[in-house]
Each structure stands twice: as structure tokens, then as C-alpha cells.
């Protein structure tokens, strides 16, 4: 399968076409085609993963994976050979332009294998879940077709062996998320949200396009990802060009992965159906940005001088995003929006992880986050499907649901605890890995940011769980447990949320990500592999637990502490609350200040400049020119030029009159002339040739 990985993205493409043309005629409206297709992709991805493990173990030879681990940690003793596991690359020529070959192909290595597994698994679960959730939808078949295409695009992006193919997959993913966010386009809000998502990410996509072009030239005219990374690490063509390339690619990540300041589209994207939100937030759309960062890591390593420590643009963007995302999650009443801001914050961890040199940590966090965030979104969907009658408002329509929906409640709890980073669930291990690298690699300030983020995460998830599942039921319906098609994906994801973290549990000696996922070629040498820091782990878990307890007390016992209505009574608290409710006024900045500014004052100002300054100059020039023009007109133009032109015209007219009879309009006359001419030429050739 390592050599035939192209089959994995092709299957959902075929399924997309089949659903499009035959879906409506199928008994289950095309959903069975989608499930079978994504299911087979999932099986093939698992086979690919197993074969990749085998390949790594074969390459490490007699020493076993210990040798690989030692190599990854830079602990090679003298005499030991380097263990190099090349990625499996297959390409075919797409088209050829001059000396340039544009190819498409697959590049299978640890990162690709991991992503294949995550994307196909989550997509499969979402497909199954949607059979119940979207049951009576008017565009059920169309929805499944779009899901298939979405999966196919993401898989194309994941296996891409060159940046051009990456760009194609990237744009397709953006297009599909536009289609799915606007699935219920009859309502203006949903259409607006879809447009906003598309246009905002397009802003970042310009960065990707320029970045691809810059790296293409910087690496000596190649799109090949391995070659680009190698050239970047060697610093070919000087440091500056890589700074430019890395900055452009960072813009792409900011747009796609919802980083500050282009994160505003992500919460609005909640307008789409909940399974789509789960897919977008866990496996496809937003992780594309982080995946780009991990894929072209050499460019960022060189461009942002990550090995030097201190601060760099990537870490700053990630760090800011962690904090603002987490803070915004506190004031949302819509359960999906809480989760959306939580995703933004967690993506901030990943980008910050890449920025501080924690490649393994960032990728590991992507892996674990995919499971618990998909779980939380699907759980929220389950609540709205069966508990609150299609509402997502936690304050109005939820509360006390733990009695009615035990499975949803239990799985949602597991997801929340994993997200909060409590030992030993998934989120703890990956978050801790990032923080440890930040602490030990000279990025202490970002470690503190990460710890504060962990504190906030635990608190807002406590609020969310409390409002949804505890207290009294505030809705007016009859909540009940969801059907099996919904609960089974939840249970599977809950299982993964518990165990996924153990894939790289450093203190237990399990470091599968270091062994199998971290690349061995075209990768920064001497990248830091952190020692497991027990103190840090205790601090982060301690902070999270404290914050859960404090938040719990705050929301359950609000009245006793006189805190109820705090926002109404205290000016400062109210100002802060309003500030957060308005999402830092960023949307206002974009629509009112920037767009409005261009429409209003700036347009008026340029109009004034236009009328007074430019027009004045033009008028003066104009008057001078007319005076000169009159003189020229009288003598040069009328006399010399017109005279000549008229004479030529007269002669042409007369010559035309002479030739006119030839243009008889009769086809046979023309044919006669043609044959006569051919005859004359033949005669001439016969005589003179």
C-alpha cells in the first residue's frame, strides 16, 4: 500500500461522482456509497500505517527502534550508523512546460500516515453519525456527495508530494467547506457565514500562493516538498528569501487554521450542520494549516530561525491565539461556539508548538485534538438532536441533561477532561510535550502562555459542561438519548480520547511519534527532544484541576458569593464582558473600519484630492496644450498631414474603382480566376522551370 497510496484519495472521488449521479436512486439516498467508500479508505490507511511501521523497523535493522529513537534524540554514540528511513515517493508527470516538469504524486511518511488515519477515521464516523443527524434533510444526497469530496480533497492534500498539489488540495478543501457551511443556504445568515469563511481563508490563500512561488524559486525551481525542505535547511539563496517564504506561508496558516487575527470566520462557520463542524474542526479544514506548517517545516525553521530561541512570528501568533480564543469561549451561550473558540485556542497550541520547535508536540496535539474535539462536536450535535430540539443555546434550552442522555453525557465528559489536559487522557500528553519543549528550548514566555491557556481551557469547559448537563432542565421538550448511529461514533471517539495520548507517553518509555512519525530526512538536525518534566506536568495538571474546581464553585454557587449579576453591577467587569461579547471588535474592525473606511472617508478624501489637486494640474496642462494644439492644428495637421492622407485616400479610391468589376460576388467567377491563375502558373513552370 505504501506504493499505491494514490488509491486512498481516489476512492472518495469515485464515491463523490457515484453519489452525485446515482445517490438519489439508492435506498439510503447515497449515504451507503459514502460510508463504504470512506470505510475502505480507512482500511487502506490502516494497512498503509502498518506497512510504514514495518518499513521503519526494517530500516533500523538489528538495533531495533531504539536506534531510531537515539537518532531522533541526537544521542548517537560513535560508530553507530545513521538510521535513515526515506519517505516513499511516487510521482507521475502532470504536464510539461519547457524544461519544467509539473508532477503529481504521493509522499508517504510518518506524518502522512498519521494524517491518513485521522482523516479517514473521523470522516467515517461523521458519515455514520450523519445518517441519523441529517435524516430528514432536504439535500441529504447532496450532503453526502459534498462530504465525500471534502474527504477526498483533504486526502489529496495529505499525500501531496509537491507544493503545487498541496495548493490544489488546499483550495479544494476551502471550496468544500464553503459548500458545507452554507448547506442550509435558504437562510441569509448561513450564506453569509459560508461567504465569510471562504473570503477570509482566501485572504490567507494568497499567502500560500506567493509562498509556493517564493519557495519554488528559492529551492532552485522545484515544487518537490523534500527538495524545498532540504534547500531551506541548507539556507540556499540566502536567509532573506526564506524569511519571505516562511512569512507568506505563515499567512496561509493564519487564514486556514483560524489564527489571530483571521480567526473570525471559524465561529461563524458553526452555521453549517454539526457533523460538518466536527469534520472541519477535527480532521480536515483547519488542521490543513497546521499540516502545512509541519510539512514544510524546514522553511519555517530556517525562515524564523527557530533554533535561536527567544521569540518569532509563528510562536507569537500561536500564543496570542491561545489566549484570545480561550477568553472568548467564556462569554458564548451557544455550545458550538464555545467549542469553536476552543478549537481556535487549541490550534494556537499547535502553531505555537511549531513556532517553538516542538514539531512532534504539535503533530501529536493535532492527533489527540482530532479525537476529543470531534467527540465534543458530535456530542453537542447529539444534545441538540435529541435534548434541546435543534437549539444550541446552553442557557435557554439545556441544563440537567445528564439524567436523560447518559451516553452523551459520559462521552462528553471524557472529551472535556481530555481537552482540559487532565492526566492520563489524551490532551495532557500532547499539551505537555509542547510546553516542555517551549520551556527547555529557550521559549519560557510561551510556556507561561501555554499554562495560562490550560487554566482557561479547564475553566470554560467546566462552564460548558455545567450549563449543558447539570442544574435544572430549562428547555420545553422531552429530551431522550440519541439513536445508535449517533452514540456509537461518540463511544469510539471517547475510546480514542482516552488512549490516543499513550502513543507518545514519554515517561513510560513509549515514544511512537518520535520513532515512526518524525521525519528522518530533510528535517532540522538537532531539533530538541524534551526530557519529561514532572514538575511542569504537575503544575499544568494542578492548574487545570484548580481552575475546574474554582469554575465549578463559581457557576454552581454563584449566589452565595454575591457574584450573580456581577457584570451588571461592576463597571470593569461589564466593560470586559462587553468587550469579549463583541469578540474584541475585530468583526467591526473588518467590516466597519476597513471596508467602511475605504467606502467612506478614504473614498471622499481621494475624491477631494482628485478634484482639487489633480484636476488643477490637469487644467493648467490642458490650457497650455490647447494653445499649442491650435497652432499645430492649423498648419501641421490640416496642411501637411491631412493633405497627405487625403491624397492617399483619393488614389486608393480610384484604384479600387478599377478593380471593382473583379468582385462580382459570383462564386463561379472566382473559381474561374483561380483555375486560370493555376493554369498560368503551371504554364510558366512548364516553360521556365
Amino acid at each position: 500500500m505504501l506504493d499505491y497510496a494514490w488509491i486512498i484519495p481516489v476512492i472518495p472521488v469515485v464515491s463523490f461522482l457515484l453519489i452525485l449521479f446515482f445517490g438519489k436512486k439508492m435506498p439510503k439516498g447515497g449515504s451507503e456509497i459514502g460510508i463504504v467508500a470512506v470505510g475502505s479508505s480507512f482500511v487502506l490507511s490502516c494497512i498503509t500505517a502498518v506497512q510504514w511501521f514495518q518499513r521503519v523497523e526494517d530500516a533500523s535493522g538489528a538495533h531495533g527502534t531504539e536506534a531510531i529513537k537515539a537518532f531522533g534524540k541526537g544521542l548517537l554514540s560513535a560508530g553507530e550508523e545513521h538510521v535513515i528511513v526515506e519517505p516513499v515517493i511516487h510521482t507521475i508527470t502532470w504536464w510539461r512546460n519547457g524544461a519544467l516538469d509539473f508532477s503529481v504524486g504521493t509522499q508517504i511518511d510518518g506524518l502522512a500516515v498519521m494524517m491518513l488515519f485521522v482523516v479517514t477515521l473521523i470522516s467515517l464516523l461523521v458519515h455514520i453519525y450523519s445518517t441519523a443527524y441529517m435524516h430528514d434533510d432536504r439535500r441529504f444526497t447532496y450532503f453526502y456527495a459534498a462530504l465525500s469530496l471534502f474527504t477526498a480533497s483533504m486526502l489529496t492534500l495529505v499525500v501531496a508530494s509537491n507544493t503545487l498539489q498541496l495548493l490544489v488540495g488546499w483550495e479544494l478543501v476551502g471550496l468544500c467547506s464553503f459548500m458545507l457551511i452554507g448547506h442550509w443556504w435558504e437562510e441569509q445568515d448561513n450564506t453569509n457565514a459560508a461567504l465569510k469563511a471562504f473570503l477570509t481563508t482566501r485572504t490567507g490563500d494568497i499567502g500560500l500562493m506567493i509562498g509556493v512561488i517564493v519557495t519554488f524559486f528559492a529551492a532552485g525551481q522545484t515544487f518537490d516538498i523534500v527538495a524545498v525542505n532540504e534547500a531551506a535547511l541548507a539556507g540556499e539563496g540566502g536567509h532573506t528569501i526564506w524569511v519571505v517564504g516562511a512569512s507568506c506561508l505563515l499567512l496561509a496558516i493564519i487564514g486556514k487554521s483560524g489564527q489571530f487575527p483571521l480567526h473570525t470566520w471559524l465561529p461563524d462557520a458553526m452555521a453549517g450542520p454539526t457533523p460538518v463542524s466536527a469534520l472541519i474542526h477535527a480532521a480536515t479544514m483547519v488542521v490543513a494549516g497546521v499540516y502545512l506548517g509541519a510539512r514544510l517545516y524546514g522553511v519555517f525553521w530556517q525562515g524564523f530561525s527557530i533554533d535561536a530561541g527567544g521569540v518569532n512570528a509563528m510562536a507569537i501568533v500561536g500564543g496570542i491565539t491561545i489566549l484570545i480564543g480561550a477568553a472568548l469561549a467564556f462569554v458564548q451561550n451557544d455550545i458550538k461556539k464555545v467549542l469553536a473558540y476552543s478549537t481556535i485556542s487549541q490550534l494556537g497550541y499547535m502553531v505555537m508548538g511549531l513556532g517553538v520547535g516542538a514539531w512532534v508536540g504539535a503533530v501529536f496535539h493535532l492527533f489527540t485534538h482530532a479525537f476529543f474535539k470531534a467527540l465534543l462536536f458530535l456530542g453537542a450535535g447529539s444534545v441538540s438532536h435529541s435534548g434541546s430540539h435543534h437549539s444550541f443555546d446552553m442557557k435557554k434550552d439545556m441544563g440537567g441533561l445528564r439524567k436523560f442522555m447518559p451516553v452523551t453525557f459520559a462521552t462528553f465528559m471524557i472529551g472535556s477532561v481530555a481537552l482540559a489536559g487532565i492526566f492520563p487522557l489524551a490532551g495532557f500528553w500532547s499539551k505537555d510535550e509542547i510546553l516542555a519543549v517551549a520551556g527547555q528550548g529557550g521559549f519560557e514566555i510561551f510556556m507561561v502562555v501555554g499554562l495560562v491557556g490550560a487554566l482557561l481551557t479547564a475553566a470554560y469547559m467546566t462552564r460548558c459542561v455545567y450549563l449543558t448537563f447539570f442544574g435544572e432542565y430549562r428547555g420545553h421538550h422531552h429530551p431522550h438519548e440519541s439513536p445508535k448511529a449517533i452514540t456509537i461514533p461518540l463511544i469510539v471517539l471517547a475510546g480514542f480520547s482516552v488512549i490516543a495520548g499513550l502513543a507518545n507517553a514519554a515517561p513510560a518509555g513509549i515514544e511512537k511519534f518520535l520513532e515512526y512519525v518524525e521525519p528522518r530526512t530533510a528535517f532540522p538536525e538537532g531539533i530538541l527532544v524534551p526530557e519529561f518534566d514532572y514538575l511542569l506536568a504537575f503544575i499544568s495538571v494542578g492548574l487545570a484541576l484548580t481552575s475546574i474546581v474554582v469554575a465549578w464553585v463559581f457557576w454552581t454557587e454563584k449566589r452565595q458569593f454575591g457574584l450573580a449579576g456581577l457584570t451588571e453591577r461592576s463597571g470593569t467587569a461589564k466593560a470586559g464582558h462587553t468587550f469579549l461579547l463583541n469578540k474584541y471588535y475585530l468583526d467591526h474592525l473588518y467590516t466597519d473600519v476597513i471596508v467602511g473606511g475605504i467606502k467612506g472617508p478614504i473614498a471622499r478624501a481621494s475624491y477631494w484630492v482628485n478634484m482639487n489637486v489633480i484636476d488643477g494640474v490637469i487644467n493648467a496642462v490642458g490650457r497650455g496644450s490647447t494653445g499649442l494644439g491650435r497652432v499645430v492644428y492649423k498648419y501641421v495637421d490640416q496642411g501637411a498631414v491631412d493633405g497627405t492622407v487625403n491624397a492617399i485616400a483619393r488614389e486608393t479610391d480610384q484604384a479600387g474603382g478599377l478593380l471593382r468589376p473583379l468582385q462580382s460576388g459570383r462564386v463561379q467567377r472566382y473559381a474561374l480566376m483561380l483555375f486560370a491563375a493555376v493554369g498560368l502558373i503551371a504554364l510558366a513552370l512548364a516553360i521556365f522551370g
Binding site: R660, L662, Q663, S664, G665, R666, V667, Q668, A671, F675
Partner: protein, 99 residues
């Protein structure tokens, strides 16, 4: 084999065709004359192909036949339209492009 007879036959056919194209007024007959010219060429091609023991000429002849079929289709469509517009197949009356 003797090549001359074939070439003479082809030349005669071609000349008849040229005469028909130039002198006939009826559009349908002009088209038929064009076919005569094409077939004269075909005879030449086949004759040389047989004479030189090469199949290239046969292939060309096949192409000419195919193209001729298409050409007649288009040509008849044009004649039909001329008839509809001018109520006569007479090509002399088609002189709207007179200079």
C-alpha cells in the same frame, strides 16, 4: 502494369469536373462536379499506390473519400439554404457580395 491509361482517365475526369464547376449554374450539379474532381484525384492516388507497391496512397484515398462525404453534407446544406432563400438553385443569383 501500365500507368498511362489511369492517368489519362483521371485527367479526363478532372477536366470534366472543372468544366462542371465553372460552367454549371445548378448548385447540385456543381457539387457533383466537385465529387468528380475528388474521384479523379483518388484514381491517381490508387494508381500510383499500386504502381509503387506502397499502401500510403490507399490510405490517402480513404481519407479523401471520408472528407468528401463530409464535404457533400455541408455543401448540400448550403444548397438547401440557397434554395430556401432565393427559391432557385441557380448559383448566378447568389451575388449579394458584389463589390
Amino acid at each position: 502494369m501500365i500507368l498511362n491509361q489511369f492517368l489519362i482517365l483521371a485527367a479526363v475526369l478532372f477536366c470534366i469536373g472543372v468544366y462542371g464547376v465553372l460552367a454549371r449554374r445548378n448548385g447540385v450539379l456543381v457539387l457533383m462536379s466537385v465529387e468528380l474532381m475528388l474521384n479523379a484525384v483518388n484514381i491517381n492516388l490508387i494508381a500510383f499506390s499500386a504502381y509503387l507497391r506502397s499502401t500510403a496512397g490507399d490510405v490517402f484515398a480513404l481519407f479523401v473519400i471520408t472528407i468528401a462525404a463530409a464535404e457533400v453534407g455541408v455543401g448540400l446544406a448550403i444548397v438547401l439554404l440557397i434554395y430556401r432563400n432565393l427559391h432557385s438553385p441557380d448559383l448566378d443569383r447568389v451575388e449579394q457580395l458584389k463589390g
